[in-house]
């Protein structure tokens, strides 16, 4: 199947999730779509699979323009999708799961069973049609999902980060299956941000960044570094620091911080880290290497299993989140919708969030709506938050304006430390520049800033010092004045420099 996406655009209120997306999928090839989280890959997949309708652009399948009202339409012309989270009924057999919802094709009896056997043999799936899904492992379940879409006659199979749940041997087995699939003339759209795997399996590569396709690459000639650069990219305006304001007064010190999950995995391992007043320390790392946990431990949302955290000479290791915040830690969380705002609260109530014990917005056990409104007005003016009024709910604002409001709120009071986790993710370029300005100003005012980001330009441009985190450990230090994105990328993936 030959699929062409041209100029796809998708807007959500206040956010442009996809714009000017161009993608061509050849028949008989594995096409990898790569990009950081939030680059717009999922939105694009949902458009291609008919879950969401695009606001602009065209989908052309085998030379014919198509519009999908629902996934049913997409399935009908042979597009199938395997989601990251499997959708199987545990208490049914493989065969029952496969025919569920597709009973019209081959019934539910012997004909269906032989059909399933046939597909399994053709692609070496090694699945017993009568096995209970509950008894199957993750890799086998994934094969059942693929079997499901093949049974429905898919000739383009979309796989959303299929390797995220697999161990290396299983990844190799999956790749063998995929090669068989494309050999039979089908196409595979493989979504991932693991560059090694992409280079191994893909025949074509398309890179997405900030909602648009920024380039294609040939896996035979492209290197990991080139792909990483394309993924994180350089986008105007560039973040740069002004004069040197770094002091030698430590504001935040982590010593030997360790965190073990309930299942015994080491999420953080002996992390030592110091942030001084007037200094921005950047944490670079591929997502999922302990950044989230590091932030949660500092904020008191999770207890470290070992080590100590000191904030301005006070031990805060065992303090609650509220106490940590009361001590002057501003917190820009990585997921603003889940952690940063309450979407259905008006802005003035969101001003109180996280600052419930601050005099300006509360009075003892009572709220101070007047004070909160006045201070929200101040933030709206000083931080250029575009909103009709403080009574507007946070939901109605664009991502950039929500984020500017959060930054303004977290700079209120007299913070001594700012914890900024992906502060410009998913915001437009204008808001990005403004947020960078505010972080620079915080540094100028003598705050210590811990900056966690997936945007290498942002990290290199803003930080005074860079630390690389890999599998929960700090593995390398860099001076941002003398490091390239390539060197950083190598350290982040654990390769040799």
């Amino acid at each position: 199947m030959h699929v062409e996406l041209r100029g796809i655009e998708k807007r959500f209120p206040g956010v442009v999730a996809n714009h000017d997306v161009d993608l061509t999928i050849r028949p008989g090839a594995v096409h990898a779509l790569i990009g950081e989280n939030g680059a717009g890959k999922s939105t694009l997949m949902k458009i291609l699979y008919g879950v969401q309708a695009p606001d602009g652009g065209t989908i052309v399948v085998d030379g014919e323009e198509r519009r999908f009202a629902s996934p049913t339409d997409a399935i009908d012309i042979g597009i199938g999708m395997v989601f990251q989270h499997f959708m199987l009924a545990d208490n049914l057999t493989v065969l029952e799961n496969v025919v569920l919802g597709a009973e019209k094709l081959h019934g539910i009896g012997e004909k269906a069973r032989s059909q399933v056997r046939e597909i399994c043999e053709a692609y070496g799936f090694d699945l017993d049609p009568d096995a209970l899904v509950a008894t199957l492992g993750v890799a086998a379940r994934q094969r059942v999902e693929i079997l499901k879409v093949l049974y429905r006659g898919a000739t383009l199979i979309i796989l959303d980060e299929p390797t995220a749940v697999l161990v290396p041997q299983e990844v190799q087995a999956l790749f063998a299956n995929l090669r068989d699939l494309v050999a039979s003339g089908r196409s595979v759209l493989f979504i991932s941000h693991k560059l090694d795997e992409v280079l191994e399996i893909a025949d074509d590569i398309t890179v997405m960044r900030r909602g648009t396709t920024v380039g294609t690459a040939d896996p035979r000639t492209a290197t990991k570094q080139e792909l990483a650069e394309l993924m994180v990219g350089a986008e105007l305006p560039s973040p740069e620091l002004g004069e040197d304001t770094v002091t030698d007064v430590p504001i935040l010190t982590l010593s030997g911080i360790g965190l073990t999950s309930d299942t015994g995995r080491r999420l953080l391992d002996d992390v030592d880290l110091t942030v001084h007043r007037g200094e921005i320390v950047g944490i670079a790392g591929v997502e999922g290497n302990g950044q989230t946990e590091l932030v949660e431990v500092i904020m008191g949302m999770r207890r470290a299993t070992s080590g100590a955290i000191t904030l301005a000479e006070e031990d805060i290791t065992r303090l609650s989140t509220r106490k940590v915040r009361e001590r002057g830690v501003g917190f820009i969380p990585e997921d603003r919708h889940r952690h940063g705002v309450v979407l259905d609260f008006p802005l003035w109530e969101n001003r109180i969030l996280g600052h419930q014990t601050t005099r300006r917005v509360t009075r003892g056990p009572l709220l101070n709506p007047g004070g909160a409104r006045a201070d929200a007005e101040r933030i709206i003016a000083d931080y250029d938050v575009r909103t009709p009024s403080v009574h507007t709910s946070a939901r109605a604002l664009s991502g950039g304006n929500q984020q500017k409001f959060i930054v303004g709120r977290e700079m209120s009071g007299e913070p001594v430390l700012l914890l900024a986790s992906h502060p410009t993710r998913g915001v437009d370029v204008g808001a990005q520049a403004a947020i960078w300005d505010h972080i620079r100003r915080a540094r100028h005012d003598g705050l210590g800033v811990l900056l966690i980001s997936a945007d290498l330009d942002e990290l290199i441009g803003l930080s005074d010092r860079l630390e690389v985190i890999l599998r929960g450990r700090i593995t390398a230090h860099f001076d941002p004045d003398h490091v390239t994105a390539q060197e950083l990328g190598t350290a982040m993936t654990g390769g040799a420099a």
């Binding site: 705002v341 259905d344 709220l367 437009d428 370029v429 808001a431």
Partner: protein
């Protein structure tokens, strides 16, 4: 400045009418129409049904409606405070049975003399409700047991336990057992509204007090803010210094305390003793859940909803005389709740969309950069 504030007030009023009052009226009308269809389908006189339901209640019935509404409202507040935090306290039923039983034993014992006995009894009833609610809350927080499952089981345990206690430690009264009667010195006077009807129960005032307290707690206190935040987003609560597990314990305790009060108006107003089934009114806990839903968890909404439910139930008593089964009113009640939930969800979506459009419109000249850049 004042002009702007006037505009703000006008908009608030318009919003209240569009997004609260209108959907409610639509829901009630739809429910009556749907019930009329059922009545018509069963071959009963539809005119008789509509006339009876929409007739003005007698003075005596008005008093009954107010009395019943007070208990329904208390039960609804107990449910609503949990709803606001995303908890489903289906155990209000059990909590108020336990509260009623404990309160009745205490009041009847006459340990505390005179009017003070009333206050002391209310405290005992609230404590009993708290204890019962805490079983589900502690199981939820420490063991991850769904509060719905444990609470619904505890409802039956409460009923059986109360029956056992009354039979073992109560007095024989005819064919059943009851707790000792409240001493006359501890029986409060009611509010006389009509000369030809009994008084409104004195403790019906509890519903008003709890309603005001509920609005104040949620709207004006830090605790209420934490509670609403937890209800809207547990993750946001956690990231902003609110311990959701602590909130579960506290809110379930408050809910249990309110539940403990549910039957107190009737107890002090007319029953004066407790015994299942004659000297007790069961089912208020479930009615409260429906009314909390109907009232959108707001004080005014619950006040209105409990009066509506009490009105429907009381009016239905006279349906028999026109040849319509009185149970048909339960259909009306159910459909009202269903329709209100639907109507308000539609209203909410329209509101969200309109607000987003308004924001986009008002900011139009300012936001031409960004996306297109």
């Amino acid at each position: 400045m004042s002009g702007q504030q006037n505009g703000q007030v006008t908009r608030r009023v318009t919003q209240a009418i569009t997004y609260s009052i209108l959907p409610t009226i639509v829901a009630i009308v739809a429910a009556l129409v749907a019930t009329s269809v059922v009545v018509w389908a069963t071959g009963a006189p539809i005119g008789g049904f509509v006339d009876t339901m929409l007739s003005v209640p007698s003075n005596r019935d008005t008093i009954i409606i107010v009395n019943q509404a007070s208990m329904i409202a208390l039960s609804a507040f107990a449910a609503a405070i949990c709803f606001r935090m995303g908890l489903f306290n289906i155990g209000v039923e059990g909590q108020y049975i336990v509260g009623a039983c404990a309160g009745a034993f205490f009041a009847g014992s006459g340990i505390v003399p005179g009017p003070l006995n009333i206050l002391a009894t209310l405290i005992v009833a609230m404590l009993a409700g708290i204890v019962w609610a805490m079983i589900a809350a502690v199981l939820n927080v420490t063991r991850g047991v769904s509060e719905v499952i444990s609470a619904i089981m505890l409802n039956y345990v409460a009923l059986t336990l109360a029956g056992y206690l009354v039979k073992t430690y109560g007095e024989r009264s005819g064919y059943t057992f009851t707790t000792p009667k409240i001493p006359p010195s501890s029986q409060p006077l009611g509010f006389g509204l009509f000369a030809d009807a009994p008084d409104v129960w004195a403790l019906a005032i509890l519903a008003v007090i709890v309603g005001i307290g509920y609005s104040f707690l949620l709207g004006w206190t830090r605790f209420g803010f934490d509670l609403r935040t937890t209800g809207e987003s547990r993750t946001a609560a956690l990231a902003n210094g609110i311990d959701p597990r602590r909130m579960v314990l506290i809110v379930m305790a408050i809910s249990g305390a309110i539940a403990g009060l549910v039957w107190m108006p009737s107890f002090f107003g007319s029953t004066h003793t407790f015994g299942i089934p004659e000297y007790f009114q069961r089912g208020l806990g479930f009615t409260g859940l429906a009314v909390a839903l109907l009232g959108r968890n707001t004080s005014l909404g619950i006040g209105f909803g409990s009066l509506l439910f009490a009105f429907l139930a009381t009016q239905s008593n006279r349906l028999q005389s026109v040849g319509v089964a009185r149970d048909v009113v339960e259909i009306t009640q159910g459909i009202v709740v269903l329709m209100v939930v639907i109507a308000f969800e539609i209203a909410r979506r329209i509101k969200v969309r309109r607000e987003q459009e308004r924001v986009a419109r008002e900011l139009e000249p300012a936001t031409t950069t960004g996306a297109s850049a």
